[in-house]
Amino acid sequence: MKYVIGVDVGGTFTDLVCLDEEGNSIVAKTPSTPDDSSIGVINGLGKIAELLDKDLNWLLKNTNRITHGTTVSTNTVLTWTGAKVGLLCTKGFRDILGIRFGIREHPYDFTVPQPEALCPRYLRVPVEERINWNGEVIIPLNEDDVRKACKYFREQGVEAVAVCFLWSFKNASHERRAVEICREELPHVYVCGSFAIQPEIREYWRMSTTVINAYVGPNLSKYIKHLASSLKESGFTGELLITQSNAGVIFPEVAVEQAVRTVLSGPACAPAAAAFVGKALDLKNVITIDMGGTSFDICLIKDGKPTMSLESAVGGVYHMKLPLVDVRTIGSGGGSIGWLDSLNVLHMGPLSAGAEPGPACYGKGGEEPTCTDADLLLGYLNPDYYLGGEMKLYPEIAYKAVKEKIADPLKMDVTEAAWSMRNIIDHNMVDGISIVSVQRGEDPRKYTFIVGGGAGPVHAASLARVLGIKKILVPKTSSVFCALGGVIADVRHDFVKSITSRTSSVDINMINDAYMEMKETGDHYLSKEGIPPQERYYKRSVDMRYKGQYHELEVPVPDGEINEKVLKALVEDFHQIHESLYSYRDVTDTEMINLRLAAYGKVYTPPLKEQPFVSTDVSKHFKGKRDVFFKESGGFVPTSIYDGDSMETGNMVEGPAIIEVKTSTIVVPPNATVTVTPFDSFLIELQDDTE
């Protein structure tokens, strides 16, 4: 038997999923080891081997592929632990990076300090050179300037160099030469040029993306080399692949070169896993939600594809421009703290009790009432079966916290207070989901929820009710969705070519040539990675806007030669997308800004295994009854509790009910039913609201 394994290293846990050729899956979770993440990875692989009754060496010898998702790059930026970066920029424009196009994130509160650039000003070195809007050399590159800068960087102990000149996406010759000189002069330093990272118009975004690449490159490179050698020592001879923020994977050498593509890759693969699981049930339009201890992630999947976005900001301030899976995060989690302001208005979050001391009910000294405390008091959580019983919860401490901090000042009883807390956090999440869907012109009622995270299934049904969503899917693998998303991901390389032209006067040959050129570069990478031509596929798009607009919309481009007819169809597609998003279409000319091509290499993924139907009868998984609060029923009602981990295909439960699994708790409200699907998921169906 041969295996493929997905590993996702998170802040707290390292998640693993192992698939065999028949589609059987094994899941493992092990604490992360932040000082050297590879230890956690090897530990997790050991756990998988144990579950298979084999040793680690045997497992790794029989593993074809390991895909690895890591937060190394994201954390490097968030914790300011990246390389000392030197930047070569065009003379006269030393502060593009510092000016950040003038944005202030909080226009009313001037007590927030201006963010420090990832490359400080004393390491931003202007070089004499200039290319104009048309790609013509106006001032030739002064190579002496570059060499002098290299000498200065050497003296300053610079660990990575980024090069970004004006208009380099039109004519990269100066950047290419400067990169060459840097590599020559600084052979042990990580060097990258914007032309090779994101050759796209708008120098701030291109430069910032390139600087982030330089900032995280050396750390990522060190980590990947270390991990690869640890795996090799333990007997692994297969392929190691790294996940990117676009939910595709790349080979380690490319990941090191294009390190910025691993930034924000953490939650990016989960939606792909949801799409994969959804596909098996023919669910094409899905909203994935993942509620953990401190945050709530939302992603929209339309027609089976997670929505992508092009612009993002790491830590809210460091901007990147590359296609990535658009996962929005809001600060609502199980640890969100409830508090009253001076007018006794109740708020939930954004402060979180985190893991230490955690919610009051953890009994670790936390005194603030949290969402988890409210969920416990309302009977949703079982104090003796949290994390499958690994952790005990203390309802009496939760009670005290909610009573003293919320209920007493508001002169309400503890249950009403807990219910209010829960209701507010639910609505914060509902607003988050609305923003994500409405902004995309989508009606959430046409969507299905796929739910992950420990706290997700506790809240999903309430959110669905408010949003008018009828179906909720809770896959048993949802707690390791990121790892699963990595395993099923294809290899993906993104390319872009800026053209900026009125559609009415665009040069069609130039478009065809540009797509051809990007495809060739893609093929170059894919063949380096050993992916044969028949396993490759390509997706093309063009960023379009109305004449004079600043923001573009991405319009998919069909395969084949572009001609007048295709161009006309693209314009019509653009009008339609614009109208569906913004409620109107315009009569004015359109512009084409960037051509994009993604080159993919298929990797083998076993199909999900369909489990045979067992029975609708769920009685043998009945664990007992306890009182649980349901607003629809007017308060606490005796509610049946089931053991979800042992439930089998076809089992059916009528709400109100609680299904307990080791990693979470599924709350099934009245007027809802749950069935176990053939693909190991719980499907909750809500009937019309009768509240």
Partner: protein, 592 residues
């Protein structure tokens, strides 16, 4: 102190609805931002969206540009006064004129006023305002320094109906579009404002469906009272008394005089003693004045408020006198009131408050010195015209404990003006930039330094086509203020033109001429002002001065003279011993 208010609706309903109405205003803003065509709108974010009660109080807003924070209720009130009793479902109104029923703040800021109906009865207003790339009048772009009266500044639009039964009233819209220079683009932007309102209307109706109209109306009361309560708490923290400030500039400047009286949780901002109206086009219509005062309050004592709604304005009484520069009256010119007099009003409020709560108030920002260029782009054979946003990158004032942000201006935008990238402007205009970077020593010294301004320099690259260059700078060099607790003032803006034929025009020449026709190879240079400092520069952490020197944003001389910090020239490290001695000496030498 204020009495705690008891909400009329349940706390949970309040929290939910509060979040929802702000989310809807934000969505409207996102939709407008992503669909607009005028650069001043999507890049300078010179627009705002708002939801307003039938009484004309702000419920929620997405203020992209802070100085519009209080202007939309004026537009709604003018529509109500004019059309009272004749407002129907499917109507949309448009207004820009500052002198008809006080509806507008500036002719170029067009406001659509959209009544929201629920089951046949009006429940709310939506008012979305956006700065137009052109508004007719004597010159393109809406800024006409030579205008004699408001007629020469642009088309005056009193409250007028532009949609009926959801259909555009074509003749009226056509009349308006016929009188502006970029009708195609401006019509698109009008659709963008209305489109955003339509999406929001749908969302508001769904919300009222869910909660019922009665509860929703109680909630609106609660929300406004909540906003009022929050700001009253902040006002109560200021000691009772009257605090006066005056801001003026070079000869001929009409001063802004501001007297703030605090009485418990009430605040009166009295601007009635300000000087007479000016011949320059900077006079402030009342909507502009009110909005500026609100911005100043929200950015000082209100900076941490959780919400900003009309309730926050209730305990603030504003006094003005018609015929003064802070209360312009028909038919005086006003086109540059936001860039200049709004700034002076904001900073006069801060200066008055700085006397009593210096730790709460921002220091003054650099004043913008920008150009407005226009002409024909030979590459496309199309006309263009725009302010030089690159030159607007002035420095922010410091605030107690934090340095001012560099290149973040102007203050009326406070970091919502997104400067277009060089690759964008070089693509849009036949101009070649040679420099756009922080200007050394432009941030005024202080324990917390003012933000840096910019050194902006470009050359005309338009072949045989001329570039028309208008001067948009502050005609009187009003003094940026306040510099707080010993912080210093930045040096003034500087502009220069170097012509291809070898001639030059200096700061004063440019100020007097106000208008040039540039030819290929002519060069424009400006140094935009930095922000004011806070605290004594001799108390600034010497290591921060060292860092500024190594970053070359502060010169060795300024470090020595202004900050009393001795830097070793060999390695640019701070000499602690010598610094101590120098600082003692400089302190002794100070006049008592």
């Amino acid at each position: 102190m204020t009495e705690a208010y008891k909400l009329k609706v349940k706390p949970v309903d309040f929290a939910v609805l509060k979040s929802a109405v702000f989310t809807i205003a934000r969505e409207m803003g996102l939709n407008m931002e992503r669909t607009a065509r005028a650069p001043i709108y999507f890049s300078a974010h010179d627009f705002c969206t708002s939801i307003i009660t039938l009484d004309g109080e702000l419920v929620s807003l997405a203020e992209y540009i802070p100085v519009l924070v209080g202007a939309t209720p004026f537009a709604v009130k003018s529509v109500t006064k004019y059309f009272g009793g004749d407002i129907n479902e499917g109507d949309v109104f448009l207004v820009n004129d500052p002198y008809t029923l006080d509806g507008g703040n500036q002719l170029a800021d067009w406001c659509i006023v959209y009544p929201v109906f629920y089951k046949g009865a009006q429940v709310l207003w939506i008012a979305n305002k956006a700065h137009q790339q052109d508004t007719g009048g004597g010159v393109p772009g809406g800024y006409n320094p030579n205008a004699l009266d408001i007629y020469a500044e642009g088309l005056r639009i009193p409250p007028v109906r532009i949609f009926k039964n959801n259909e555009e009233i074509k003749d009226v819209v056509n009349l308006i579009m016929t009188n502006v220079r970029i009708p195609d683009m401006q019509h698109s932007d009008l659709l963008s404002m209305i489109g955003a309102a339509r999406v929001a209307e749908k969302r508001l109706r769904a919300l009222i469906d869910d909660y019922g109209k009665d509860l929703f109306e109680l909630f609106l009361d609660d929300l406004l009272t909540y906003g009022e309560f929050l700001i009253r708490e902040e006002i109560s923290k200021i000691p009772n008394g009257t605090y006066r400030s005056e801001i003026t500039g070079r000869e001929g400047a009409s001063p802004i005089v501001c007297e703030i009286t605090i009485d418990g949780s009430e605040m009166t901002v009295d601007l009635s003693k300000s000087g007479p109206m000016s011949k320059e086009y900077i006079n402030s219509p009342i909507a502009n004045t009110y909005s500026a005062v609100y911005q100043a309050i929200l950015q000082s004592i209100g900076k941490k408020l959780e919400i900003r709604c009309g309730g926050c304005y209730r305990p603030v009484k504003i006094k003005t006198k018609p015929g003064t520069i802070a209360h312009a009256t028909f038919p005086v010119t006003h086109g540059n009131c936001t860039n200049y007099i709004a700034k002076q009003i904001i900073e006069a409020v801060w200066s008055a408050l700085a006397q009593v709560i210096p730790e709460q108030v921002p220091a003054g920002w650099g004043s913008i010195p920008y150009w407005i260029f226009s002409g024909m782009d030979p590459r496309r054979g199309e006309g263009y015209g725009s302010p030089d946003f690159q030159a607007c990158a002035t420095g922010a004032g410091a605030v107690w404990g934090v340095d001012g942000w560099s290149t973040n201006g102007p203050v009326i935008c406070s970091g919502t003006l997104w400067y277009p990238e060089i690759e964008v402007v070089e693509g849009l205009y036949p101009i070649f930039w040679e420099r756009w970077e922080w200007a050394q020593d432009s941030g005024a010294p202080g324990k917390w330094r003012g933000g840096l301004g910019v050194h902006n320099e470009w050359v005309v690259d338009s072949g045989s086509e001329p570039v028309f260059l208008g001067y948009g700078a502050d005609p009187f060099d009003y003094v940026p203020a306040p510099a707080i607790a010993g912080g210093k003032m930045p040096s003034p803006n500087r502009k220069e033109l170097q012509f291809a034929n070898g001639e030059r025009a200096g700061n004063e020449d440019v100020r007097n001429a106000k208008f040039y026709i540039l030819q290929n190879g002519d060069r424009a240079i400006d140094f935009s002002q930095g922000g004011c400092g806070v605290g004594d520069p001799l108390e600034r952490d010497p290591e921060l001065v060292g860092k500024d020197v190594r970053d070359e944003v502060v010169s060795l001389e300024s470090a020595f003279n202004d900050y009393g910090v001795v830097i070793k020239p060999v390695n640019l490290e701070v000499d602690i011993q010598e610094t101590k001695k120098l600082r003692e000496k400089l302190k002794k030498e100070r006049p008592a």
